[in-house]
């Protein structure tokens, strides 16, 4: 970049650098999918799928033996499984936010990252959905959750937040998947047109839904995309709000608080952006996408991380304030315990990762330093996992009656499921970047200077 100006708001500052043309974009991105499997990819895929096998093996053992293989106990009925669930749902937030909300706000810089942010969303939600399914005591009876009409007139309990969860996350997943797929259609058609073998052509043809790039098709496409974006936007807010009601509607001190919905949404966006950042930086490096995923994009994302990080920081302090202000002795006790009790180590890990470390992004230099942002994004991921752990474990372990207080210690199976879920996530992600265009080619072309009818061709003189 020649000019040190923040991009995103100004059409004059190019979002895509390196003198790209429509065909160079197509070539660049399609070649990742079409070239031979690289050794790096094979290595990573081997690693990720091994971890996925750890997940599958652990799930098998879990179903065989029972929930007892985890560290959960009587006061702490939910352990890492639910922490992981909330963590992954949170990760899944950035995709829709980037795709839908930024789309509606005409944030053109989103185009470079939206495709794989969306993919990340879907995979994260898949990982999240694994956990509610397996964390129940009787997996084989899990269909009782479904509102299936039956002769006994037995329905699920519509007052239970777990049921709301089931619908909220299910809806979110469905809409995110549709949204992602809709955006993929033009690019799938591009790949189809470039396909060299008959089978590949046929398969891609099926998924490209007969896309020909005609004007009418583009018109319908854009409308559909806009509508889906509109549909997805409330979901960004709703899904984690609903997840937060799992806790907020309970009577347990530390859970029973109205701040949870906005706090959880902010936290979700925070963690989602951090995960997008982590993944984007790796993909950018491996596939040399520096010109498409520019420092400007990363800078913008870091600003969002800084903002949402401060929002969760505010929520943490507000929780403390309310705990004291409410005069509820149980509530204030649990917050003092969070900071200074048996789980203080987890609490301060969370505060450090989520509140202190992102403050480094006040510095523009740090915002634009690849190693710094990579490290920070990892810390935020860790911190947000701990946030959920702190909420669940501290509140349950020391509730109303001291006689039942107990400490939660994870077992090897708790760890293996968390690690394994990353295996599942990365396996899916690696399959995605290998087989589907990880950057939205059609949309990128839309933000190239050439796409602007008023384009003065000065870009070529860069």
């Amino acid at each position: 970049m020649s000019k040190e100006v923040d991009a995103g708001y100004d059409y004059q500052v190019p979002l895509i650098t390196g003198n790209q043309t429509f065909s160079s974009i197509t070539d660049k991105i399609s070649s990742i999918v079409e070239s031979k499997t690289s050794k790096e990819w094979a290595l990573l895929f081997g690693l990720a799928s091994s971890l996925m096998m750890v997940l599958l093996g652990s799930i098998g053992y879990l179903i065989w033996e029972g929930i007892g293989i985890w560290g959960v106990n009587n006061p702490v009925g939910w352990g890492w499984a639910i922490v992981n669930f909330v963590f992954w749902v949170g990760i899944g937030h950035a995709g829709t936010l980037i795709s839908a909300v930024l789309f509606l706000f005409r944030q053109k810089w989103r185009t470079s990252i939206n495709r794989f942010a969306e993919a990340m969303t879907i995979f994260a939600v898949i990982c999240a959905l694994v956990f509610p399914g397996i964390h129940v005591g009787r997996v084989w009876a899990v269909y009782y959750f479904f509102p299936i009409p039956n002769q006994m007139d037995m329905w699920p309990n519509f007052r239970s937040p777990l049921l709301w969860d089931f619908f909220a996350v299910g809806t979110y997943f469905t809409v995110s998947l549709l949204f992602w797929y809709t955006g993929l259609v033009p690019d799938l058609a591009t790949l189809r047109d470039r396909a060299k073998t008959a089978i590949r052509k046929k398969v891609l043809a099926i998924f490209a839904l007969g896309w020909r790039g005609g004007n009418k098709q583009w018109k319908h496409y854009e409308l559909a995309y806009l509508l889906l974006a509109g549909l997805s936007t409330p979901l960004v807010l709703s899904v984690h709000s609903v997840v937060s009601t799992d806790f907020a509607t309970a009577v347990i001190p530390g859970w029973h608080t109205t701040i949870f919905p906005p706090y959880f949404v902010a936290g979700a966006i925070f963690s989602g952006f951090a995960m997008v950042m982590t993944l984007a930086l790796i993909a950018r490096r491996i596939y040399h996408l520096e010109h498409i995923l520019t420092l400007t994009h990363l800078d913008n994302m870091n600003k969002i991380i800084l903002t949402t990080g401060m929002m969760v920081g505010y929520a943490y302090s507000m929780e403390f304030f309310i705990a004291w202000y409410s005069g509820n002795p149980y509530e204030s006790f649990i917050f003092v315990q969070r900071a200074f009790g048996q789980y203080a180590w987890a609490y301060w890990t969370m505060i450090t990762c989520n509140v202190f470390i992102p403050q480094i992004f006040w510095s523009r230099k740090m915002r634009r330093s690849i190693p710094v942002m990579f490290v920070v994004s990892i810390f935020v991921n860790i911190g947000m996992w701990f946030e959920r752990f702190v909420i669940i474990a501290t509140s349950l372990s020391q509730d109303f009656l001291p006689s039942s207080w107990d400490y939660f210690s994870p077992t090897i199976w708790d760890v293996s499921l968390l690690v394994g879920s990353f295996g599942l996530f990365f396996t899916l992600f690696l399959l995605f970047i290998r087989h589907l265009p990880m950057v939205a080619m059609a949309e990128i072309k839309g933000v190239l200077p050439q796409a602007d009818p008023h384009h003065a061709h000065e870009g070529e003189t860069h």
Binding site: G137, Y144, N157, L162, A250
Partner: protein
Amino acid sequence: MRENMKENQKQYWRSLDERADTPEFREIVEREFPEGASELKNPVTRRNFLGLMGASIAFAGLASCRRPVEKIVPFVKAPENMIPGVPKYYATTFTQGRHALGVLVESHEGRPTKIEGNPEHPESLGKTNIFTQADVLNMYDPDRAQEVSLDGVQSTWQAFGSFWKEQHAAFKKDKGRGLAILSGEFASPSLKKLYDQLKKEMPLAAWHVNEPVSEMNMHKGLKAATGKSVQAYPHYEKARVVLSIDHDFLGATPGNVSANRGFAEGRRTEDEHDTMNRLYMVETSFSVTGGMADHRKRLTQGGLEVFTRQLAAALGVIDDGAEAVESKWMHALVNDLKKNKGASLVVAGLRQGAATHALVFAINEVLGNNGVTVDYYDNPDVVLQSESIQALADKMKAGEVKTLVILDRNPVYTASSIDFAGALGKVEHVIALSSYWDETGHAANWHIPMSHFLESWGDATDVRGNRSVIQPLIQPLYNTVSMTAFVNFIVTGNEVKDSDVVKQTWGAKDNDKNWRRILYKGYSASTLKPVKVRARSGAIAGLVKASSVSAGKPSTSAMDVVIQPSSSLYDGRYANNGWLMEVPDPVTHLSWDNAALMSTATAEKLGVGNEDVITLSAGGKELEIAVSVLPGVADNVIALELGYGRQKVGRIANGSGFDVYGFMSAPEVYSLSGVSVSKTGRSYPLANTQDHNSMEGRPIILEADLEEYRKEPEFAKEAVEHPPLVSLWDERKYDHGYQWGMTIDLSTCSGCNTCVVACQAENNIPIIGKEEVKKGREMHWIRLDRYFKGDPDNPDMLFQPLGCQHCENAPCEQVCPVQATLHDEEGLNVMTYNRCVGTRYCANNCPYKVRRFNFFNFTNSYPETIKMVQNPDVTVRFRGVMEKCTYCTQRIQEAKINAKNEGRIVADGEIQTACQQACPADSIVFGNILDPESRVAKLKKQNREYKLLVELNIKPRTSFLARIKNPNPEMETVA
């Protein structure tokens, strides 16, 4: 009844193979049980058998080890009044040493499942203690000894029979020279008759009596003081002031049923104008009785004896009390006792010396208590321990014992401090009768498996002389012999059925109406009158003079050790009982282990903490044991519990805890001094079910002194301030029909743990093992919370039994996604196990944390016999489902069905929950809260009534009655 019993038995077959009638099985039958084989070959009988018994498949498999049964026929003629699914109750007697408790045993299709108190038996009045509740599990213990063995090799009763007949004849000729018998204390007409017969026919034979947890000093002291061999029977209900000198009469002590009942009677208050008793406790360790005390003082073992002498001196019982009474505490106590002459009571525990017990008798006499608050009985049926087991061991070592018959004792374990096993080596023939092939069984030549009391005939007499019959509910599951039949055989050399021995003693004939009545009622009322005994001051003074005492000054380098029975395993006899092994000790809350208990200050001085392993050494003996810090134990004293550290009993007992018997200086000596302690640097995991001992200032157990209560009668209602409670939903009214509710009186609950085990027995609650308990997954539906309060060195101890509170506005119900937990019309919070998916959300949202989750399939690995102890009225839960207290919904349903059939409504008191029925203090009351005449409704109107966590607007149906203490106002000035 006996006839019914026999009929009942016949529905069992020996195994599934038998049911299938495979050729292989026929072969086995013909080889092993020739007399039964012809029956199987008879097609008609077999067809009937199979046809009628198909429904009872659950009982299959039981039988492989049974004794040959003469006939196998089905219920061609069903026993009278036997309706499948409707349990029957039979009266029998539970004994523990010299104590007897009349019980009613619930029997489902011939299978005893639950022991309850016999409401008519004067000692029980329908109540039980923790051991009674758990004993039924012992009968079904798959680790019981099942066959006669000789030197560890399986043998037969016939072989033993011919061996003993020879021996018996020889001994008879020799007047019993070289024969020794070792038994426990007993109070039984039949056994006493045989005891007397042996003494008469074989005067040279020795009959030694030993209780590992021995009250010998108590007997000796009383004998010295009165000149007679009498047993004391305290009437706690009549005492306004009780002083207990290290006597845990409310805890796991035989005889605690009437003690709890009596004490609770004296303590219960209806309103602020009521009076209540006052309890002073001086003790070394911290017992549940100490927790109940209004004033408690920690003293060392020697200090207790000095204290007793000072007290005696202050009351003018002895005049050589040179030490002046320096403490204000003593002054206040003495004044209080003097003020309540004839209405006070002093009792002393088994660790105290004979002199102390003699002094206690004299003190009670001076206070005019004898004959009023404590009676003395000279029971002709009782045989008490009069000398140490050391005497027997000495005889054995001297080669004076040729044949030793051990009757249900385990001296190799309990007398290991004097190397009883070594002494056994000097005995030619060792014959041991016991339920388990235990440490003594291994060392014996002949081991005879003993029948459980539910399989036996026998009789027993309680302290006050009420004679009762032990009648069997089931034929022995294995090739076992009852105590009565065995003792009869040993003494007479004739094999007589135990039923005949008992009938003979009672002079009963088969169609004797009176006998049938006794069997039906379970007992025949006492004709024994309390004896009038006077203190023989000379003898007492002599005894006091003979034993010098000093308070001692234990320090961390020379500590005191006191040894007490386990509150669950007692002397170790219940070590293989899973319910008792797992039930947390009420005071320490340890499960599956015993530990070295010491005060916080002592632990700090020693530099040890929970789970650290220390080595105690004294008198050349060493004991490695884990530490558990228990505030309230006297400083520089370590309290140890007996009964653990077994090696050769069964899967539950082996390897659990530490064996303390070996560390004792001698049997029957329950204290040590000059014990040195060293750290090993290792640690040993202890499963403690309550990690946090403080209420954190929360209004959980509400408590007031009587004076405060009188000033502020509504203190319990006003304890919690909260904003107006508004519900999110339209609330159900619950204003018609039955509305069930419960009250628990915290004033009278002593923390004896009986309710916890009763609930476990009634509701098929699994045991889960130490590892799982340690993880915090214990399954008890009702738990006994214990909190400490006040001075961390000498705290108050408070108990609160807590089951599901059946909130009308239940937080668990709202969050269950599949409606597996719901409210019924009668206000019960019910669980639908089939619908439960196991999200555990309900447990998380339960503010009382009383919901229990089946983390594993805990019931899957049950041995066949354990399956038989399950209550058929209660579902056995599978893994992955939540469970919790149901207010014994099966009992509610049963009563409702009965009432409906009879066209009436359920009467108050007709339904008793298992915890309520067992509670010896009658602290738990259950009933219809809408019926203004019901006991529970009346109790709920008391001003002490409060509900836990009322500020959450969850409207629990269980109320607590606040705990009232009655401290001596004079004591207030005492530090």
